[in-house]
Symmetry: C2
Subunit: 468 residues, 2 copies
């Protein structure tokens, strides 16, 4: 055994040992925001927005630079997180509900029979709470809310919006983060004695955003004086809301601290997909989300659509102040990894696409053993060069994007080319051949109705003037 | 001589013959907007904004899909248009004036001794008028307006903003296009009998934009009802202003028609550079400009920064309803081409970078004989993947972008890859070798002070979290 391998094994052993040494089962607080871009956190490099609480979380834990969600839009990303499955495999391939849902015959809810991380924790002594967004069930054509409630998915306590089950109360377009934090704080207060798994699916910065003047005050310099009285810059609005998120995170952490639970709580922070671009119908007043250096926004399989912030803290277990930029972690990995970190003795479902990434979370870089796969074939509100092909696969440093009819085939080396602007498919035909075969095999077997896609699927919608 | 060559020669002969047949010297109306993107015209494919007058102009004339300005920012682009020179050669390399100007010791004005198209027309029987933006001269450090007035550049009549000489009167942030059109209409009225060269440098859609409610009414559906009372979407604001431009263009054309001058007037419409991105300090309320399918925005050498709308009408001479997508035309070509089309018998300056592209304007596709060159090394408000290297060269279908220190070298085939996302520099080393040598030779001899650049010049400014 070479020294480096020995060191790795030793490190992995020590890491797992730390888990084993946890005095009691850790609590878990998973904060999952809505449409917050990879770059929408100061610790990720944002030049303007202030997120002192998230930055502090990154300092007391680890910031991951390469974390992927399962879809570039809401419902499938969330379904993927809960089930540890690629969303194309579980029939949730677009935002649930809405006109497109009826047109393309989408499922109206996530199958509650599927194994998921909530049910596993609820069945193993944890108190599972879910507050905020849900979007895993919608109304039927007649406007009846027929979808199962969160409790049927394992969330013993919940308050959500636009769903069956208990509703969030008192929400408006400036206080969503605050209200959801209130529910979380109340949950912590009531469940101090039992191990708990608290999920706060914060609804910001998804539009509509309408912050108060007080919230906007720190960012008024982004609104030109000549229009300040009656027009706001998108940045003033958006950054105010990001700071609302940050304040909510800070209050939840403070509550854990007050209850003496901070040391024994795994706090995770992430977002469901990339930022909604300015040109989405509801985002025109607030589309200032940033993807950092990445191409793509919400609804794109380029990095900016699926690569999001991911910060994890667990004092004494997860390295403090570490920036992990050598290892891929994905939302599908959360189910097996949280089960492992909590020390639950359960058999995980065989079909899981996620892997136990505990060793990476605890500080030891490693490669995934399996590739990540994505399928997304519906609406895109980004502009043109953000519109990706409909299939993607990440295997090591290579990312392949393609349309099933091969009208677009793109190959990027994500480590060398983080902007996805050096498409090497023309030259690296062997890699393309191997990866595209695997991706198409997966697509063939998993997607229920591959022809169920808009005609422009995977293509820019720009009507170019044609030469004559 | 092969048939195709013969046909081309014949076509070229016929085309020039048409010019020769012009009964009298044509008038010229050049409408040049500020920060309007390639995609910000319905005829170019914009999905939402209404530009009926520009669309009609395209139907009575020719729409060019591949027209390049000399710089991705204001002053150098305008200097390049007037002089027919690449801006790096004439010492205007950034927006004139402002703090950056002092820091990097920029010229305070365009050298009035340089040959330019206004002077040539003024000296050859044309009445030259210039109304609207100027930005070819700025105040000195003490705030004194010491730059030469437009008249010293050949504009016998002018009214401009922020410059020496007669000032535009009555401007506000909702009426700029209207006011400038008023000046133009008055000029046409007064100069009907002489051949004239009217330049309307419309100041829209450069921010600050503050359209009236009436102007915004057609686009209110872009502002979500929940924020309609006090927040506007960037689209509502921006599209209203684009329609203001369109109305102004329509009124000028109508005036020409009323005066019986439409048949004998060459009308040209273009923009000085790509749209200002949302994140520019003044654009947060209105940064909805579109580049069509192109990468890059204002201040980028990618297509979106330097490729702009270009519509030319001259009834009976320029083909009506044609979309020219086979030939490159550039702003530097305007000087020699307008001189040719007007039939001026003058000797053009030897140093011109522009070429006479009359044959293309009149309908015969052709390749340029010389490459186009760009140098831009200053501020960029775009986000990350829009930030280009500082040098660019277009030779046929190949576009090379590079930093002088070769920290970035990118090669795109613009015809096959209009989004500039298939950087082929790694593989096409021979083409890169040849083009980069020419580009560096040009850069070495032309740019006065190559070290005069910000440290981040040609690089994304994103502060990536570093692994540890």
């Amino acid at each position: 055994m070479k020294y480096s391998s020995l060191a790795k094994t030793l490190a992995a052993f020590l890491a797992f040992d730390v888990v084993a040494l946890a005095a009691e089962q850790p609590n878990i607080v998973f904060i999952f925001t809505d449409d917050q871009g990879w770059g929408d956190v100061a610790a990720y490099g944002h030049p303007d927005v202030r997120t002192p609480n998230l930055d502090r979380l990154a300092k007391q834990g680890t910031l991951f630079t390469q974390f992927y969600v399962g879809s570039p839009v809401c419902s499938p990303s969330r379904a993927s997180l809960l089930t540890g499955r690629f969303c194309a495999e579980i029939g949730i391939d677009y935002a649930i509900g809405g006109p497109a849902g009826q047109k393309y015959n989408h499922a109206l809810w996530l199958d509650p029979e599927l194994p998921n991380v909530y049910k596993t924790f609820a069945a193993n002594g944890y108190r599972v709470g879910h507050y905020g967004k849900w979007h895993l069930g919608a109304m039927d054509k007649d406007g009846n809310m027929v979808a199962p409630a969160p409790v049927e998915y394992g969330a013993q306590e919940s308050a959500t919006a636009h769903s069956t089950g208990p509703k969030l109360k008192g929400l408006n377009n400036s206080n969503k983060s605050e209200i959801i934090a209130n529910y979380g704080i109340d949950f912590i207060e009531r469940n101090q004695s039992s191990p708990f798994f608290l999920n706060l699916w914060i609804m910001d910065p998804h539009s509509v955003l309408d912050p108060t003047q007080e919230q906007m005050d720190p960012y008024m310099d982004h609104t030109h004086p000549a229009v300040r009285s009656h027009l706001r810059s998108s940045q003033t609005v958006y950054y105010a809301i990001i700071e609302n998120i940050d304040r909510a995170v800070g209050r939840v952490i403070q509550k854990l601290e007050e209850c003496g639970l901070l040391e024994n709580t795994i706090i995770l922070f992430s977002s469901d997909n990339g930022p909604s671009p300015l040109w989405s119908s509801a985002t025109g007043h607030a589309g200032s989300g940033l993807t950092g250096p990445f191409r793509g926004t919400k609804a794109s399989l380029y990095e900016g659509g699926i690569r999001v912030p991911f910060i994890v803290s667990w004092p004494g277990h997860i390295p403090a102040g570490k920036v992990q930029d050598q290892s891929v972690v994905a939302a599908v990995d959360m189910y097996p990894s949280l089960v492992q970190m909590a020390g639950l003795e359960v058999e995980l479902p065989e079909e899981l696409d996620g892997e136990d990434r505990t060793s990476v979370l605890l500080g030891t870089p490693s490669k995934r053993s399996k590739p990540l796969m994505w399928e997304y074939r519906f609406g895109n509100w980004g502009r043109e060069i953000q519109v990706s092909p409909t299939l993607a696969m990440l295997d090591g440093d290579w990312k392949l994007l393609m349309n099933p009819d091969r009208s677009r085939v793109e190959l990027y080396n994500i480590r060398e080319d983080i902007t996805e602007t050096e498409n090497r498919a023309r030259y690296e035909t062997e890699i393309v051949g191997e990866m595209s075969a695997r991706l198409m095999d997966w697509w063939d077997t998993q997607v229920p109705n591959p022809k169920n896609a808009p005609p422009w699927s995977g293509h820019s919608g720009w009507r170019m003037p044609r030469g004559n």
